[in-house]
Amino acid sequence: MDLKNARKDLGAGAVFVAFGLAFATTASTYEVGSGLQMGPGYFPLALGGILVLLGVLIAAKAFVSPETGELGPVPWRAAALLVAAILFFGFAVRGLGIVPTLFVSVLLAALAGPKVRVVPALVIATSLTVLSVVIFIYLLQLPLRLLGPWLS
């Protein structure tokens, strides 16, 4: 068989087995209990086991009738920039306040677009920051500070 064709199924199987194992092993450190007196570990341990089983079945199916089809390109740069934008927001919003944080995050996100240049990205970041502040802070009255303690 051609391993290349089976990549989707093998990959999905591996992801599920990994998650199943992680949940099941962690769950077994909690009190499992019995059917009558279920401990906090019971339900996740059972589900973790089922997930491992399903993951193995999916991977096994790859050898019988794999789900074909190209994986297609992966937008690595865009993915990295979007993750950076989101993480930066979570990390900085309390300290920097909403205005600078949002500006940086939207700028990072805008740079993830195809064939984007710096000046248009700055324009996008500025306009969206203004728009969001108007909508969320002035219209919806969210209790977020415009500028945070790191700047004062």
Partner: protein
């Protein structure tokens, strides 16, 4: 109280100025995201959930529901004008609707879609009003064992009707159930899978999960190739139908409405299925089947009515059983829980104003949609010119602010990134994200019912099989699963479902 009194209460609730306003905002937003490819109703509703937090429960649900059925209308507009269904259930409309537009009959096609949808939406609303009370009365008799089995049926049936591999969908459900266990255990108070982080004690945030899976993952999909759209801005004229047209669409609209009302109740993608079935029925019933695909008005009227009737009746399992039929309904469950309302058969008795107000708002929303879509069609066509490079940073901005504002918790924001990447990887590997969201929402309920049933039965697991109603429900789940893996059904399913709405 009979249906009439209930509807009266509904009108009283839905016709308050605030509720009217947010119904209008909801359907307008829905139409907008239905028109714009690259952003779907699920992501929009997830982003707006935090904003609705401060509203009255009924106002928030009226708006969120409006986004859903508004998107059905918007999706057909782009399907007809530029052959690009903004929403999966509009894929069939594109066949004959776009053909009509090419023949210079775009106005006629849009009018057919809007009027058919309005009629179907009205009937669908009535069906919900008539059947909701009896169904929830049956459900009130359920014990924990029946509820456990009911949730299992809901989960399994949702994958039987969805696209893609059944095994993978099952695994996605289980992964969703597991993610739902993160946080403090309700019974013992033990924190589970929190890595000792206090911020995770309350569990993973539902909005982060939905925004990550349906918003961020979808953006990454779109950035793979760089979205390019041909903007064909046409002038739309002659927005009215002749007497002859009315005669031709009468039966298709009626049949489509009937089909949609029935199929919409099914879990999974009932409204997508309805529009496909309606199209093939109309083609078979027509005296001129050769016109189909070349601009047959029946091919627009039937499917459009079907998907709109289905959009309304898909609220039945949600409102009567607390069981979400698809990812959009799962979001509405999330909205209810955020508002402190336990979804289930009790809603109709405990919150009659919410229940009937929401149902009546469907009808009012459908009325708004006719007005929004026919005279204001030019506005939506203009919206198509918004470039994607503006759209996706806006999604990121709204998603992060909204999620953060939920609990001023940075972990809610971090988990958007985590679920965005996880969702993208899994979609790449051929797994649909919707079952994961359903599993996540229903996971805590499933564990709770399992525990309660086993406590009542003194740890005897056969309780699920010895109680007849529970056994019947589980048999139904087994049947649905068997049918889903049968090769002949599989092949048909693959033809019918191209892609679940994002």
């Amino acid at each position: 109280m009979d249906v009439f009194d209930n509807l009266l209460l509904g009108f009283e609730t839905a016709l308050t100025p605030v509720n009217l306003l947010f119904c209008l905002i909801g359907v307008a937003l829905g139409t907008a995201v239905g028109v714009l490819p690259g952003i779907g109703p699920t992501a929009t509703m997830a982003m707006l959930l935090p904003i609705t937090f401060g509203f009255d429960p009924v106002t928030s649900l009226i708006m969120l529901a409006g986004i859903f059925y508004g998107a059905q209308y918007g999706g057909s507009t782009t399907a007809i004008l530029i052959n690009l269904p903004g929403e999966s259930s509009a894929a069939v409309t594109a066949i004959d609707g776009h053909a009509m537009a090419k023949n210079g009959l775009a106005g006629k096609a849009l009018a057919t879609a809007a009027l058919g949808s309005f009629f179907a939406g009205t009937v669908g609303t009535l069906v919900v009003a008539l059947f909701a009370t009896p169904i929830s009365q049956v459900a009130l008799q359920f014990g924990p064992a029946e509820y456990f089995s009911l949730v299992v049926v809901g989960l399994v049936a949702s994958i039987a009707l969805a696209s893609g591999s059944t095994l993978k969908a099952l695994a996605m459900i289980v992964l969703g159930l597991l993610l739902g266990t993160v946080g403090q255990d309700l019974t013992s108070g033990v924190p589970r899978f929190t890595f000792g982080q206090r911020e995770l004690f309350g569990g993973l945030n539902f909005v982060s999960l939905a925004v990550g899976l349906f918003g961020v993952a979808e953006i990454l999909r779109n950035l793979e190739h760089g979205v390019t759209r041909d903007v064909v801005v046409k002038k739309v004229e002659k927005l009215w139908l002749t007497r002859e047209d009315f005669r031709r669409i009468r039966m298709p609209v009626l049949r489509g409405t009937g089909l949609g009302a029935v199929l919409g109740v099914l879990p999974g993608a009932g409204h997508v299925l309805a529009s496909f079935v309606s199209y093939s029925v109309e083609k078979r019933a027509s005296k001129h089947p050769e016109q189909f695909g070349k601009g047959a008005i029946e091919g627009v009227a039937g499917p459009e009515s079907a998907n709109n009737a289905a959009a309304q009746t898909s609220f039945i399992p949600l409102l009567t059983l607390g069981l979400p039929a698809n990812s959009i309904m799962a979001l509405l469950i999330g909205a209810l829980i955020i508002q402190g309302i336990t979804p289930g058969p009790n809603v109709i008795n405990d919150e009659p104003a919410l229940f009937w107000g929401l149902i009546v708002s469907f009808w009012i929303g459908n009325l708004f949609l006719v007005v929004l879509n026919l005279p204001l069609i030019g506005l939506w066509v203009k919206m198509l010119t918004i470039p994607y490079r503006w759209l996706f940073p806006a999604i990121i901005a709204f998603a992060t602010i909204g999620t953060y504002s939920l609990g001023l918790n940075a972990y809610f924001v971090y988990s958007i990134a985590f679920f965005g990447i996880l969702g993208y990887v899994l979609i790449k590997l051929g797994c649909e994200p919707a079952p994961l969201l359903l599993g996540f929402v229903l996971g805590p309920l499933l564990e709770e019912y399992l525990r309660r049933s086993l406590t009542i039965s003194r740890g005897d697991p056969t309780v699920f099989l010895t109680r007849p109603l529970s056994a019947a429900l589980l048999a139904l789940a087994a049947l649905a699963l068997t049918v889903a893996v049968l090769p002949s059904v599989r092949r048909k399913r693959e033809v019918v479902f191209e892609e679940e709405d994002a």
